[in-house]
């Protein structure tokens, strides 16, 4: 069985908690473990935070979140977080651990590393001036669910 949801939120930091809670609630249908759910929520929080502070650089913008659940013996949760912000000039460099454009603001530079480690797949595409799309997925070893 497939299921999906779409979410559109303004790029306000207040919405980071809402976004990860909403995706977490959606992912719950795949019966994840506590650790799997925490991994998903943390990764969503990282992607949404990136869009707010880097994509829109604290200006007003919209963040689009789409989730798809493929439910079966092994479930897969796919999450897309997209913004229409400034884009990332060098995605490969941005994904290096500890890379940050704002060391004075105490960013850890671990956002993409967290997503990469906590999810099974991560794909980042970006175009200067057009925005960034982060696609990630995680397998959930759930008990069999009726299709």
């Amino acid at each position: 069985m497939r299921n999906y949801m779409k979410l559109e939120i303004p790029s306000k930091s207040l919405n980071e908690a809402f976004a990860r809670a909403a995706v977490g609630a959606f992912a719950a249908q795949a019966d994840p473990t506590v650790e799997e759910l925490a991994d998903i929520k943390t990764s969503v929080s990282e992607a949404v935070t990136n869009s707010i502070i880097h994509g829109y650089r604290d200006t007003a913008g919209v963040i689009y979140i789409e989730c798809e659940a493929r439910l079966g013996k092994t479930c897969v949760i796919e999450i897309t977080v997209r913004d229409e912000g400034v884009g990332i000039p060098d995605v490969e460099r941005a994904m290096e651990p500890l890379f940050t454009t704002a060391p004075d603001e105490e960013r850890s530079g671990m956002g993409f590393t967290v997503m990469e480690s906590f999810m099974d797949t991560l794909d980042v595409t970006s175009e200067k001036g057009k925005g960034t799309t982060v696609k990630m997925s995680k397998k959930i070893n759930a008990r069999a669910i009726d299709e």
Partner: protein
Amino acid sequence: MNCEIEQVGGALVVKLKGEIDQHCAEELRGDIDRQLDIKHSASLIIDLGGVDFMDSSGLGLIMGRYRKMQARGGKILLARPTPAVDKLLELSGINKLVGRERTK
């Protein structure tokens, strides 16, 4: 996010409760640094026992306090991280830099 700060001997003890993300990290940073500067604490203990959620904004917060304490010759200890928070600390390498308070 809720934050209780008290001076115990030479240590500033910060008890964090709730969720740490970018939205609340800046306010937390200000609250902790203000007290560190007022109390001139020799060490900083961050009690993470009540933290339900933390992302890399929390790592930035801890690394910043680590650097601050190191610059003034002090030390920082973390206490009672939940398994999810500890997984993040381990991934970041912070566990190799920052000591662990094991008493409570």
